[in-house]
């Protein structure tokens, strides 16, 4: 289980995260929804220290970090427990699709190079890109790049996959293939924390939906409840805006 307590983050005196408490069960798929600028992405980014949180604790089974006093080594360890899927894919531009997936296994986790490449090939098969193994990111479509991005996150079998708006930067034609792959990863019981604006996808995939506003989790529950019987007026208003009638 993953435990987050009292996580806060401010930019120039403006509180972006205002005391986040969150427990995540193993295998749980949590989707975060909410208006823009309410701290959804910041929450994901602080959970693996792409942004340094100001205060709070983050705990994995064998690791409990007081974020204000986190040492470099602890941050490193925390990152080994998590994997990040970026909105803009962020594939290594100087590495092929196969190398992008193998890189972390080989360089960070000490898997031999041949083994890492073999595992990368297996993942390329799973994400349907076996024939693009040697292509550099610049030669891949947005959808293909994001699938490799997800493949890179799959490779390490982490405790928690952090997925930040995986389809927001995509042309509409590529959205479906990425959502399908996300569904496949979710079906394999990967623990995930996903920020998305795709409400249908959220409803289909989530065990639990969190609604964030003003840097806080305002309401949470199973998708049936959140989408059909929202309690908080701010959530009701948000859903009226984003859901077609």
């Amino acid at each position: 289980m993953i435990r987050v307590r009292g996580l806060t983050k401010s930019y120039n005196g403006h509180k972006v995260l205002d005391g986040i408490d969150l427990d995540i069960e193993k295998g749980e798929r949590i989707v975060i929804i909410g208006p823009s600028g309410t701290g959804k992405s910041t929450l994901l980014r602080t959970l693996n220290f792409l942004e340094q949180p100001d205060a709070g604790t983050i705990g994995f089974d064998d690791l409990n970090i007081d974020v204000a006093k986190a040492k470099v080594k602890e941050i490193q360890q925390l990152r080994l427990h998590t994997a990040f899927v970026f909105q803009n894919y962020a594939l290594f531009a100087n590495k092929t699709a196969r190398e992008n997936i193998a890189e972390g296994l080989h360089v960070v986790r000490g898997v031999s190079k041949s083994e890492a490449l073999a595992r990368a090939d297996a993942i390329l098969g799973e994400i349907g890109l076996a024939d693009r193994a040697d292509a550099y990111p610049s030669a891949l479509s947005g959808g293909q790049q994001q699938r490799v991005g997800i493949g890179r996150a799959m490779a390490s079998h982490v405790d928690l996959m952090l997925v930040d708006e995986p389809t927001s930067a995509l042309d509409p034609e590529w959205v479906e293939e990425v959502l399908q792959l996300m569904g496949k990863v979710a079906a394999a019981h990967q623990t995930m924390l996903i920020v998305t604006h795709e409400m249908r996808f959220a409803r289909d995939i989530a065990d639990r939906v969190l609604f964030m506003e003003g840097g806080r989790i305002v309401e949470q529950g199973p998708p049936e409840k959140i989408f059909t019987a929202p309690a908080d007026p701010r959530l009701q208003q948000f859903l009226r805006k984003v859901l077609p009638d």
Binding site: R79, A83, N88, F92, A93, V108, Y136
Partner: protein, 224 residues
């Protein structure tokens, strides 16, 4: 105007050719050392490494802010007066050290700019998979910065090749020194120096050919 002595010029070619290896050798060794040093300087500056960072700033400021010739004289004629053990430093070594320090200061700034030109998402992706800062620099950031910096660095290499001629002022008989000696013997100054000018020109042009191939190789990942 008197006629040019073409026979003398042709005769000079094989004489000067013997000094090309020394000139290119000094330039290549200085360039390699300067590349290593400038990468370290640039990384210290970019990551704002505590304690060392202000010193790299001072280093770059000094070696960019003073003439190369002054630096060479300082190393070769000046320092041994303070440290007698340095008297053993020969002209070639002094020239290589001077050229390395001088050009590494310039190159560090180019490489720093190139590193900052690598998209932030590349840094974040490297950190997100748990890479340490050194691994991130070596495997992800520097290879991409190399592509950005390559044209400028080749420019510095060209400048460096030509600057080896200053080693002649430290008593090194390299291409320029040899030409000076030949000219002093024959009194054919124009013929001698136009021949050596062509020597430098040809070396630099040959390097420009390599530049195209280098840029193509470094750009492999971004070609569609």
């Amino acid at each position: 105007m008197r006629a040019l002595d073409f026979d003398y010029m042709l005769g000079l070619v094989p004489v000067l050719l013997k000094y090309v290896p020394l000139t290119l050798g000094m330039a290549s060794v200085s360039m390699l050392l300067a590349l290593v040093l400038s990468c370290l300087l640039a990384i210290v500056r970019v990551l704002k490494v505590p304690v060392v960072d202000p010193f790299t700033g001072l280093f770059i400021s000094f070696f960019r802010g003073t003439p190369l010739l002054v630096q060479l004289f300082l190393f070769y004629y000046g320092l041994p007066q303070l440290f007698p053990s340095l008297t053993a430093l020969d002209g070639i070594s002094a020239a290589v050290i001077g050229l390395t320090l001088h050009f590494s200061a310039y190159m560090a700034e180019s490489i720093r700019a190139a590193i900052l030109g690598v998209d932030r998402s590349q840094w974040e992706a490297a950190r997100s998979i748990g890479m340490r800062e050194g691994q991130m620099m070596r495997r992800i950031v520097l290879p991409q910065a190399a592509r950005i910096a390559a044209p400028t660095l080749v420019n510095y290499f060209i400048d460096l090749i030509k600057s080896t001629s200053l080693a002649f002022t430290l008593g090194v008989t390299e291409l320029m020194g040899a030409t000076q000696k030949e000219a002093a013997g024959s009194f054919l100054y124009f013929e001698s120096f136009i021949v050596v000018a062509v020597f430098y020109w040809v070396m630099v042009e040959a390097l420009s050919l390599v530049q195209g191939q280098l840029e193509q190789r470094l750009g492999k990942a971004v070609q569609r």
